[in-house]
């Protein structure tokens, strides 16, 4: 069960090492900005090796892994839609749209989902824009 995560972590470690190759060195050959990323990469490869050679004693329950994969992906895409929505309508309306969309994704009734989005947009505008002035 830990082989695949182990391989992915090892691959990430190798990638970090390779990406840090162009970083400059200090005078007299002392390590510079590459030192810390390379130490992390080494740690990742070692931890990954340990995960691969020492399999987990308690396997993860299959039931805990069952779920619907498409919905988390759609949720992430809806949140990323903040960027164009913000450009078109400002932060409060953009947040309202996201809240309504996520509510619909989670099977909340459309009328309630839209009302929640409108109320959230109102609260965001009042608190973040008018009262605190942080956005």
């Amino acid at each position: 069960m830990r082989t695949l995560p182990g391989l992915l972590i090892a691959a990430l470690g190798v990638a970090i090492w390779l990406f840090s190759v162009p970083f400059p060195q200090l005078e007299n050959g002392y390590p510079g900005p590459a030192l810390f990323p390379r130490a992390i990469a080494t740690g990742m490869v070692l931890a990954a090796t340990w995960m691969i050679v020492r399999p987990e004693q308690r396997p993860i329950r299959k039931s805990a892994q069952r779920g619907t994969w498409y919905r988390p992906v759609v949720a992430i895409m809806l949140v990323l839609a903040f960027i164009p929505a913000y450009g078109l309508a400002g932060p409060a309306v953009a947040v309202g749209i996201i809240v309504s969309s996520i509510a619909i994704l989670l099977h909340v009734r459309i009328l309630i989902a839209l009302s929640t989005g409108i109320i959230t947009a109102g609260v965001v505008h009042l608190v973040f824009v008018l009262l605190l002035g942080v956005v």
Binding site: F23, W50, V74, I83, Y86, A103, L106, F128
Partner: protein, 474 residues
């Protein structure tokens, strides 16, 4: 010792801190920063109590998001966000936030007592801390963090390395070389760990529910005052040694300039996890240590004129603006002001924290009464606006969403999330102080252990490793 205007400032400041701290993305530091322009026009006996109330209550209020939706409001509250959320899930938000608020109050009182008794002596110790000692403090915190993942320290190590990796994005803290930014200006400035925290803890909860609809968020229970006051007070009475030890750790780490409440809370909670404490005791340890650190950050500020954290840096600006000169002479020339600060800390911790804590806990209990699917939709909106509000940068929303995705995958693999934040908080401290120390000593690595305090810290790190391995075998 405290004027009526000062008391009024305490109450208004506490309310302001409660609102700010409870909203994800708005930190205690930001709340004080927004208050500073107003503070310049106020008398110090009004401005300083308000700042103390804002910072003390906002640090506690950072736990409200953790309680309701696993979104810690501050890096310090991320140290025990998972445990607090679990406690709230099992026993209701009033009980969880009761432990947090009353633990914060107890820690704040201990921190204030240490501030009163040992300000000058501790400030003297702080002057002996150089980059070598700071390096070892970071190593100690990271070591404790690895073994804090008791069920799977290797997974804890991987999560920690991932956090350290995230901390390397942007300009290198010592030499100024840009790393892993791929031409993106937001990445060049580094990942903001509050934005990362919102994604890691808050948005990942939404993704988890999208993946597996049906798992409940939190529950509500009856008898609010009994849940908020009686049961947590009983816990504090039984676990008083946890409060004292964690408060002392919070104070000792908090008074070091640059370390502050965040590192203090992580060190205190990591040790409680290593020793196999209950979830309630871990919350108690974290809450008491971070509020103890709020008080102790004033030690170098009052005694030496050195800021302990960003809040006290702003306080020093107010001092200078008002013609007050911090340092040893402050205790001789303006003892009245010093006494009023001490009294303000005690009132803020003994009165304000329980009152505003109860108020915010009641509001949190109302929030969790909302149907889960609707609550999660609103939480998504809060995650988005909270991450955007940090720097008014839409790219932070992308970072938040990406962190949510990373956390979702990590959770599927059984990797802990708290260690990712720990790596992000301690990574820059570790790297900067290692590089500075190495360059200072011409890369003579033996100089890392040839000073008395570094020897003690290195020994504590080794003891932590041995204790952690033994504890795991048991």
């Amino acid at each position: 010792m405290i004027s009526w205007e000062g008391l009024a400032a305490l109450v208004v400041g506490g309310l302001y801190g409660a609102v700010f701290g409870a909203i994800p993305g708005l930190t205690a530091t930001l709340s004080v920063a927004l208050f500073i322009p107003l503070a310049f026009f106020l008398d110090p006996i009004v401005a300083l109590p308000a700042i103390i109330a804002i910072s003390s209550v906002a640090i506690y209020a950072g736990d409200v998001g953790s309680a309701v939706a696993r979104i810690p409001g501050t890096p310090a509250s991320a140290a025990y966000a998972e445990e607090l959320h679990d406690v709230c899930r099992a026993n209701g938000p009033l009980y969880g936030l009761g432990i947090s608020a009353l633990g914060s109050a107890a820690g704040g009182v201990v921190g204030t007592i240490i501030l009163i008794v040992g300000a000058t002596a501790l400030a003297e110790v702080a002057t002996h801390f150089s980059s070598f000692e700071y390096f070892w403090v970071a190593v100690l915190g990271l070591t404790a963090g690895v073994f804090a993942a008791r069920k799977a320290p290797v997974k804890g190590l991987v999560a920690l390395l991932l956090g350290l990796l995230f901390s390397t994005i942007g300009v290198d803290p010592t030499l100024g070389y840009p790393r892993f930014h791929y031409g993106n200006t937001t990445l060049l400035g580094g990942l903001d760990y509050v934005v990362a925290m919102i994604g890691l803890f808050g948005f990942s909860e939404v993704l988890e529910y999208c993946f597996r609809p049906g798992h409940a968020i939190v529950t509500t229970i009856a008898q609010p005052s009994k849940s908020f006051f009686h049961a947590p007070l009983r816990l504090i009475r039984h676990s008083w040694s946890v409060v004292v030890r964690s408060s002392v750790v919070g104070t000792l780490v908090g008074f070091l300039p640059g370390a502050g409440a965040d590192v203090g809370a992580w060190v205190a909670t990591s040790y409680k996890r290593v020793s196999g404490a209950s979830r309630e005791q871990i919350v108690l340890a974290g809450a008491s240590s971070n509020n103890a650190a709020v008080a102790s950050a004033w030690i170098p500020a009052l005694s030496l004129g050195l800021p302990g954290d960003t809040v006290t840096a702003m306080v020093l600006a107010v001092f200078l603006m008002k013609g007050i000169v911090p340092g040893p002479l402050l205790f001789e020339n303006d003892i009245g002001l010093v006494m009023s600060l001490y009294a303000t800390f005690l009132v803020a911790n003994l009165v304000l924290l329980p009152c505003f804590g109860f108020l915010t806990a009641r509001l949190a209990a109302l929030a969790v009464g909302i149907p889960t699917r609707l609550l999660l939709s609103v939480i998504t909106g809060v995650c988005v606006i909270g991450s955007f509000a940090m720097r008014n940068n839409p790219a932070d929303v992308i970072i938040m969403a990406a962190m949510g995705g990373v956390a979702f995958i990590l959770r599927r693999g059984g990797f802990p999330l708290a260690q990712v934040v720990l790596g992000m908080v301690l990574g820059p401290i570790l790297e900067q102080h290692f590089m500075v120390s190495a360059i200072k000593s011409s890369w003579d690595l033996t100089s890392f252990t040839d000073r008395p305090i570094t020897m003690v810290l290195a020994a504590a790190t080794i003891i932590t490793i041995v204790f952690g391995i033994q504890n795991r075998r048991r």
